[in-house]
């Protein structure tokens, strides 16, 4: 078929993104066993079933706020380059810390697939993960891998191919398959802000609900973005004053 896809590897520092990047693309990117080694985005390519996949290795981040450079790089790539798929590389031995990041990705509205890395380490710590139950709870596809031993890579490539091909006919830039419920009071404000934002043409390529949530979080970049589009809107100001 000779299609071209772009996928992004994302996740928390030291989850094994770069190791997985190398396992996928066969490149020899520098890996060290301490967090924060990948500071800029790097790309590599692999072929699978005649299709070409460009892999972006993003810097490890604990979340997707605007507080640090790595986080801004990571989310800018996801928002602006709109990869067909975002692969969340998760440390299987530390799931609870990684899950908040999963939800942030889902909130961004991008298609997410989980590469559950280091399942051998988790096992050694007595952690056995029920992948099927995990998948159905999240509504996401989960591929268990051991990146440094190149285990599970074929299955992951298959999952990536399936997801990318399924997204081929996506007409809207961002899907809305998952929503964190912030409770009636906050939801009402989010809805109001979203409504206001929906009237601004320049913002329509971005996930509006996400923008609204970040605006409420006083996210610097989102505030600048909104204000930059000359939306010093009295409604927004009022909404925030009321909340």
């Amino acid at each position: 078929m000779n299609l071209k896809f772009t996928i992004a590897l994302t996740g928390q520092p030291n989850a094994g993104k770069s190791t997985l990047f190398n396992a996928l693309t066969g490149s020899r990117q520098f890996i060290a066993n301490y967090p924060g080694v990948t500071v800029e985005k790097k790309t590599g390519v692999y072929k699978y079933q005649d299709d070409k996949y460009t892999v972006i290795d993003l810097p490890g981040t604990y979340s997707l706020t605007a507080y640090s450079l790595e986080e801004r790089v990571a989310r800018a790539v996801i928002l602006e380059e709109k990869p067909q798929l975002v692969v969340h590389v998760m440390d299987a031995s530390n799931l609870s810390r990684s899950l908040s990041f999963t939800f942030q990705l889902m909130e961004l509205g991008c298609p997410v697939l989980i590469a559950l890395n280091m399942i051998d380490v988790a096992k050694a710590r007595g952690i056995e993960i029920d992948v099927e139950a995990f998948e159905s709870k999240l509504g996401l596809k989960v591929a268990p891998v051991i990146a440094n031993k190149s285990k599970g890579i074929d299955m992951l490539k298959q999952f990536i191919a399936n997801a990318c091909n399924a997204n081929l006919n996506r007409t809207i830039a961002f899907s809305e398959h998952m929503k964190v419920d912030y409770g009636p009071q906050v939801e009402a404000v989010i809805e109001q802000i979203e409504k206001t934002l929906s009237q601004m043409e320049e913002l329509q390529t971005l996930p509006l609900r996400w923008l609204a949530v970040k605006f409420l979080e006083n996210d610097n970049e989102v505030e600048q973005l909104i204000n930059g589009k000359k939306i010093k809107n009295p409604i927004l100001a009022k909404e925030l004053g009321d909340s």
Binding site: Y62, S63, T65, Y67, S68, N94, S96, R97, S100, F101
Partner: protein
């Protein structure tokens, strides 16, 4: 470090605890990037902490939270109000 050493408004802060002591987070008195980072690490109200090591005069304090070890500065630990278990 004596019990109840430095406190925030008479509340017990994390930097007052000794190695081996377990506590529960009651309040996080900070905002911005610092609170975001701690939230990302799983520091939420009601979360259990255990002091692993505590350098009394020099940083850092090592705590165990949700199965992982996190090092904090004394200045940061001062802003975590806890209750001993």
């Amino acid at each position: 470090m004596q019990r109840g050493g430095s406190q925030v408004e008479n509340k017990l802060s994390l930097d007052c605890l000794k190695p081996g002591e377990r506590s529960i987070i009651k309040e996080i008195i900070m905002n911005g990037s610092l609170s975001q980072r701690l939230l990302d690490m799983g520091f939420l109200r009601g979360t259990e902490l255990e002091i692993i090591r505590n350098a009394p005069f020099a940083d850092p304090i090592e705590v165990k939270i949700r199965g992982s070890h996190v090092s904090l500065r004394h200045s940061e630990a001062k802003l975590l109000v806890v209750e001993r278990l």
